[in-house]
Amino acid sequence: MGLSLDASVALIAIAPFLAAILAPLIQSLAGRFAAWILFIVPAGIFIVLLGLAERVVAGQTISTAIGWVPSFGLTLGFFVDGLSLVFALTISGIGALIVLYAGAYLRGHRHLGRFLAFLLAFMGAMLGLVLADNSLAIFMFWELTSITSYLLIGFDAGRQAARRAAIQALVITNIGGLCLLVAIIVMQQLSGTWLLSELRGLEGVVRDSAFYGLVLTLVLAAAFTKSAQFPFHFWLPNAMEAPTPVSAFLHSATMVQGGVYLLARLTPVLGETSVWTGTLVAFGSVTLIWGAIGALRQTDLKQILAQTTIASLGLLVVLIGLGSKAAIAAMIVYFIAHAFYKAGLFMVVGGVDHEAGTRDITALGGLADKMPVSFIGAALGALSMFGLPLTVGYFAKEEMYLAAFGGDWLAWLVLAVLILGNALLAGIALLIMIRPFLGDALPTPRKPHEAPIAMLSGPLILGGVAVVGGLLPEWLGHDVLAPATLAVLGVEAEPHLSLSFDITNPVLWLSVITWGLGILVFRQAHRIRVLLRRAELAIGWTADRAFDAVMFGLIRFAGAVTRFLHHGRLEIYLFTVFAMLGLALFVPLSLLGGFDWIVPTADLGDWSKRLVLPDLRIYEWGILLFVLVGLLAVLIAQSRLIAILSLGIQGTGLALIFLLFGAPDLAFTQLMVEVLSVVILTVVMTNLRLDARDHRPFEDWARDGTLAVICGAGVSHLLMLVLTGTFDSRLSDFFAKTSVPVAHGANIVNVILVDYRGLDTLGEISVVMGAGIAILALLRRRNKPAIAARGEP
């Protein structure tokens, strides 16, 4: 099979994993050049994807399928359409820059190889997620992004904060992952297909079913946890514990966009209902405003960016919820703009932190002189975030206002929320660009100097693309937005992006209002921060702390359950075991009518027949009595010695029973064993200082006695029922018939033991030998009390 262009799609999803496996090796061989070598993989993927772009722009869908579990009809299909291409290009493109950046950022770090491995594995999972056709594969990659993200957030595992953030992200996103799995299974049951490409063609099969509400809830739970929507937003700022390359890649441009991708992908299946629009717009709006306000509260640059990421994710969800052509086009262009500027800004912030030793916005100033290139990178990103014309961010803002403009009062409300959110974000953009870089120089822990080229290339390239994209509206609209919108909505829609400014266009004035408000926010940032801090203190309770409460509650609950079940009291364990035996003896039998004989229906004559004494001979009665006396003596024995001797009585009696009823071999063995047992017990146990009697409080006595009687009666009853049944003697007859002719032995029991079941007997001998060895080991171990060994007196 030649490697066709379509099959290369599958290769794209696999290559990062291969690179991840090799990364530690490459790191140990190539040292500081490892990142440059590994850079080839994402860069190569990016180029291959670009090669597919032409066909996608022409409206084609490129798909490939390889057998996964053919016996279940499962294929691991991949397909590329406008939407997945935009995501995949963003992931691989930014991923390539991040690999370079990480190599420089963690230069000389002991575990750089491991870090690059995690990073590449994550990229593979993310690419798989956006390229997969099979919904089970999507779930698999979805969970893989959670797991790799967990590894990356907790990369600095020595710090408790990192461990906590990692566990938090894993728990929250995995809850969503499990919801997604259920939703996927329900959708498959409804539609009969695992393939998204087929599911999207089946209009209304999920939407019109009774399970629509369930599926929608589950899918939203998955998307909202992954994409940090309110009220699941709190894990994202905590994930900033990860090294900056991770924050720049996972928690701005890629992983958190997984939920956005899922919602966009499932729009044709679940969307276009009022529930869909209402829920997404409501949650997205709250998230947008919440995140933007949260960003203003912070002084840590990374935290500010993390909070704005939450806001941007909310914005994307609002746009998907609106679901019109303009809204989807706005969603795509905003996704691109955000990914570029956010990754770039994160990288700049990481550089500042790296070179100046702090990332506190109040402690930085005037860095533009010392780090001019970083400043250019920051400015390019921040201006795109601000939404200035000539950047991609401008078009994103224009498109989304257009999407929400005109309509009923709800649409106006959404528009107001969008303007407010964008204005807050614009103010924060100015803050990030101006505060650390302009103004008076402040003393910093380290003497700031320019970051290395590998750390600068990212922000510069991303910022540059943001501007180039902003200069080419025609290309952006036709080659990027149109195919992606087609992929989401299934209808041709080409947004007309334009750089011509028409002052009669109200949308332009909305932009102007946004900028004005943004500048106002920037000027008042300090005052707003003080106010918000005060409010935060007044409330004093956050979702983040609720998470701790839930987790610790879970641990306490687990501890309590363990202690309840695993209490360490042997007699209660045994009581539970025998109580279960009692239940097993009575409950199933009573359900199957095993006790019907107790209530004789009509024929009383039959009942009386059962009371006839069996034809036991007098000496047989005597032996039975002997056994019973032995048993009773064991029970009531006043001393240990009597109990042991009584044990011998009942054993001997049993041997006599065997002898009477045609089992001399058994009788001899039983007798010998019994004698041995009594002798050994007497020797071992009578010279110990032990309580002579079996002390039990009355309630224990009553409890144990009742259970014992129940078990005994149950076994007797079961045996009697067995005896009333017919007896299948085929096996016994076979042994009797073949014993002499085939096995040449007259004693059938012995023939069975050593011939027919010879291996069984071998096992039995092994058990005896094993027990012997264990006994020997126990006895030869010198007296060293365990208590002394534990250091107690």
Binding site: R163, F552, L631, L666, D694, A708, I748, V749
Partner: protein
């Protein structure tokens, strides 16, 4: 006849269970033996009891002449008796060593593996 044996099995089992529920290790040992005997008798009885001869083919014959006791349960019980004895011997020595180490034969005081106040799982990350 076999109903009487079935009732006897019940007595064996009841006594075995009662002794196993004791806190004294030596009573538990005795309980193990009694319960084992009860189960052996159960297998024996379930294979149907006859007052007939042992399952031995007389000299010169190919198959047993006339009725004979069921050999299959006997073979099973023979194995069970031996294994039961091995287990009894092992448990006895174990109890003996436990007594030597802990100076007790009360299971409530034997709590080295599962201490009375096990610590709470740690409440941190």
């Amino acid at each position: 006849m076999d109903y009487i044996l079935a009732a006897l099995v019940g007595v064996f089992v009841a006594l075995g269970v009662y002794l196993l529920l004791s806190r004294a290790v030596i009573r538990m040992l005795i309980g193990m033996v009694v319960l084992g005997n009860g189960v052996n008798l159960l297998i024996f009885t379930a294979g149907r009891v006859t007052r007939e001869v042992a399952p031995i083919v007389p000299e010169g014959l190919e198959t047993p002449a006339g009725a004979f006791a069921n050999p299959l349960p006997q073979a099973l019980i023979l194995t069970a008796i031996v294994i039961g004895f091995s287990m009894f011997a092992f448990l006895l020595v174990l109890a003996y060593r436990a007594y030597q180490s802990l100076d007790a034969d009360d299971t409530d005081t034997m709590r080295l593996a599962e201490p009375e106040n096990a610590p709470q799982p740690p409440l941190s990350y």
